[in-house]
Symmetry: C2
Subunit: 432 residues, 2 copies
Amino acid sequence: MKPVKVGICGLGTVGGGTFNVLSRNAQEIARRAGREVIITQVACRRDNPNCDTSGTAVTRDVFDVARNPEVDIVVELIGGYEVAKELVLEAIKHGKHVVTANKALIAVHGNEIFAAAKAAGVTVSFEAAVAGGIPIIKTLREGLASNRIQWLAGIINGTGNFILTEMRDKGRAFEDVLKEAQALGYAEADPTFDVEGIDAAHKLTILSSIAYGIPLQFDKCFTEGITKIAREDVEYAEELGYRIKHLGISRRYANGIDLRVHPTLIPERNMIAKVDGVLNAVMTCGDAVGTTLSCGRGAGAEPTASSVIADIVDLVRSFDMPAHARVQALAFSELSDYRILPIEEVSSAYYLRMAAVDKAGVLAKIATILSEKGISIEALIQKEPAADATTAPVIMLTQQVQEKTMNEAISAIEALDVIQGKVTRIRVEQLN
Amino acid sequence: MKPVKVGICGLGTVGGGTFNVLSRNAQEIARRAGREVIITQVACRRDNPNCDTSGTAVTRDVFDVARNPEVDIVVELIGGYEVAKELVLEAIKHGKHVVTANKALIAVHGNEIFAAAKAAGVTVSFEAAVAGGIPIIKTLREGLASNRIQWLAGIINGTGNFILTEMRDKGRAFEDVLKEAQALGYAEADPTFDVEGIDAAHKLTILSSIAYGIPLQFDKCFTEGITKIAREDVEYAEELGYRIKHLGISRRYANGIDLRVHPTLIPERNMIAKVDGVLNAVMTCGDAVGTTLSCGRGAGAEPTASSVIADIVDLVRSFDMPAHARVQALAFSELSDYRILPIEEVSSAYYLRMAAVDKAGVLAKIATILSEKGISIEALIQKEPAADATTAPVIMLTQQVQEKTMNEAISAIEALDVIQGKVTRIRVEQLN
């Protein structure tokens, strides 16, 4: 069999990892793929000192790879939106299959890219775009193909999980841990994508499309970051038997699907509550299989390369397959038009924390507001005021209620003269 | 596209589940597979009251299905060795692809079956044979295709895990929990396969072949059950910061691969130590991806059906593929002849428990024997003798040492006149 020729665009962390793993494990990969996979060309702005490219053609222009008639598969690892999109479309135009690790690109421009690929009869693969080395795209598209997926939930941003883990384990403050994460190279200099949940929203958008067979709709994903999580919330959650994790969650309802990224209280006995540090994990619930969990490294050079190369091997197999038989980009041959529910229509249980003036009757006022809205209180902690404080923290867990109703209740509570400042609200999920 | 026609042999728990999920989710499955999948014939000794087979041809002879010219894929769910083997070979002879959930069949007769399938140009798929609904075969064969797998470890028998979990959580004795597991239908009337580790050894044999690309060698798998685990061992393990799990473990060394099923102490902080009840979980370590864990239901009608049908969908895709491009049964186009190490050559850390006569100098004698063998003690618990006892339990964790050396040390310790009865030995793994 003729070897398959790969062109790698971008030789940064993931590009370098892909180059090295493809070189190091060439023999095992060929024994699995049934054909040799060789790197024909590499495009990078600068050399990667960890990669020995002396035997490989190197160009500074990524478009050289997209147009190289020798290349069968273009691997896009340059990141970002604009040039990456242009590059992928150019590769498709030249009849190349594409492998990418670019979640932002797929979440935002995926519909357009998949349409172009379908028209050209090529495949765009993106296992590495979600949860790094965990083959969760494959699991959802193929491993659970017989299931009607009911919901999924994932820790899909390692930086955020590292920060929350440190806050819990060591009682540290958010800002403090963020600085360390940046020093360790986990978080970018501009950490917005990680801590504001944008990166997780990209990944959740992709996972949900595949799970339910719906178009990518990143703009409809509700996104809340972890920047407002206080150390005391982590501690109170613990006192109530919960952990706080930054989750991407989506669920199928009779009237639509929700897509949301936010900090979430999860019972500490739940497996995903125990996924700590930079690890990623995705839980899925299918009607046949029940709940499954996959856990592993969600980022880093070689874990991500592991998924990039798995895609390459799958592509090699599909070369001789008719297009109709190939796995569809978003898992389904025809997509559904389920409505994406606005967060106001989503129901959830809630953790609430507020500062109440230390007076008789305060709790009665709060309880009356909740009761009038039909919201039941599941658990309550009322602390004594600290020595120098005039307010005492009141913490409660509510039963499930629609976000819209909770918003009204919170507004009413905040309007009470015995409540100081804003009410902190964190959603609660059981995930079982 | 023409529908794909499936014949189901066996309509027990898994057969019934497969029949029902294929019927219930027919539309979603067709949207994923790109073709309709229909059940053309069912063979069963007796009807399953949970399945409405009124619209399906039913035969009492499974060989009717294997020979039915209308059937594309034969699904073998009758279990056992002899008839199942005959059935699968007959189906292959008639040019059918086969899907089976039969771990015993694959572990023991897989090499012969795969050779026959290769010669006939058909595929035998067996995702459901290991870890029920968890798509671990697909993960190893495809999702981690770029990795050199270093080791794997799994909780791959739900009954055993249920028993050990109950022993720990409720301080119950082995025999007592086994009776309950039988009453709940988790354990067979003859529980030997579960509690003696034979079922786990079947599954480990299959996983290891796929991980390292070696022929199936069930007869070389070292197997030790959980029947000798005492409640006190569970408690002492806990005191030392460990959990006892019944694991299948295999690892790649410079001079071969080990294959072993035995009770194992694992640090309680390890994710797999937290997998409780009837759940299954498999950890794998690849050189690129690092350690990953997949967890879910390892048995039951619909979780197992989930994997059976995933195999069917994969087969549907591969119909138009040339044989060389298909995923190989044991992942690799050519198998390796790594030596399977006998347990005596395997190194492990150990938990030891012994009953020592309550006299001065006992510990010195034990320590001297271990020291002469070059075995270091990592941790030690010496308890006071119970009120009515003349001996006191001594518990220790050792550093890593070859099994052969540990056997010699244990013999020497048992020969001491201050030691009563046998030394209990449980292997210890860190799995990180």
